[in-house]
Symmetry: C2
Subunit: 233 residues, 2 copies
């Protein structure tokens, strides 16, 4: 008989990978948190081999740093690296937007507008967590018809790395929320213009890119204002 206990089709290394990624993304494992192979293996009721594999995979994605004979920890991301990651994300998001724009259906555009309206209403009783969720949803709708999965993959990697930083010092800039919603409107307008032949793909791309670089600039400006004396450690 051998009832296969419902779902044996997922490997242990996969389980370990999912386990770790979940905790890193939702902030339970903050940057700098040490990942000890033997300890994790015990928690997950498996040997160290699959755990090791999972950690190496996360390392390849930039979520974890791993040093030989020393150990692994959730990646600690410095300000310059954050800046570089966000610049790259701006690049690929902008491109993804331009690629998707001509393929967006009326229904998809309406859905995106609707999400953005929810974001606007969310501005009143402001909840950063909910706002971030809606923001992700907005872009997910926008990128639905993107014909280049490679670019989307890069977008998702960028997003994931960003979430590693949730609880670090590079957090949300509340003042940006309103501008974000307005910029979304503008991007949606440009998409409609593009479909009507009144705007070029480059217009859409650069607008979408600037949308994220503006957020980045705001974060960096706040960081700078928080340490008036750069001489501090």
């Amino acid at each position: 008989m051998t009832v296969p206990t419902t779902s044996t089709t997922v490997s242990k290394s996969q389980r370990a990978y999912t386990f770790l990624r979940e905790r890193i993304e939702d902030g339970r494992f903050v940057p700098g948190y040490r990942l000890v192979l033997a300890q994790l293996a015990g928690e997950l009721d498996m040997s160290v081999v699959p755990v090791r594999e999972a950690i190496r995979r996360l390392e390849a994605e930039g979520m974890v740093t791993f040093e030989r004979n020393v150990g692994a920890q959730v990646a600690l991301i410095k300000e310059t690296e954050y800046q570089h990651t966000m610049e790259t994300l701006a690049l690929v998001e902008g491109y993804a937007t331009a690629l998707s724009a001509p393929h967006l259906t009326g229904a998809q555009l309406d859905a995106a507008r609707e999400v953005n309206e929810r974001m606007r209403r969310c501005l009143a009783d402001f909840d950063p967590h909910r706002f971030t969720e809606l923001n992700l949803e907005f872009h997910a709708v926008l990128f639905e018809p993107c014909p280049n999965p490679h670019v989307l993959d890069l977008v998702h990697r960028g997003w994931r790395r960003m979430t590693v930083l949730r609880d670090s010092s590079f957090a949300f800039v509340p003042g940006r929320a309103q501008e974000s919603v307005a910029e979304h409107d503008r991007i949606l307008g440009l998409v409609a213009d593009l479909q009507a032949g009144r705007a070029t793909a480059t217009d859409v791309e650069l607008a979408a890119r600037r949308h994220r670089t503006a957020t980045l600039d705001a974060v960096l400006a706040r960081q700078a204002s928080r340490r008036p004396h750069p001489s501090e450690k």
Copy 2:
């Protein structure tokens, strides 16, 4: 004292990774070549564990596909995937060029011009291999002062994936070589213009992007002409 026997500091998994990547990149392991853990472990005189890790790392980079309980093989890349990869490479290369442009010193610009001249001379007695090498060198010089290592990392990943295809059907298009050299000239001219305030970063970026998409289009066109009846397997 402790002469550390020159270099014992390299792990076996690292050695296996280098070994495999070399063979994939220089074409000894062609796309589709099966990578059997036990066999490779025998060749490398190590156990399967480090080999497995190396293969998983290559999988994360897209050089290898790995299926559970079935095995690994050098990635077989379809035409659409090739197209998507190259589009992405065009995007990041264009951006990397624009980012580097304002920081290129006179010496670096001269070096780039010199490499391009060698490419031009190479057109006479044409050797695809040498031309490709020079092409890589040209871009390496161009990206030297790029301030965003993330973007450069994406460029290098794209290049590496491209080399996987060397011996597959997506090979070199000889007719493109001349245009390539001319486009390099044009890009270098735009960089100089940018530094003199006569061109914008976007001009440089889009020109560099078009440089690669033009190559892509040429490859795809040749592919299309090679199979007049798309019904063939």
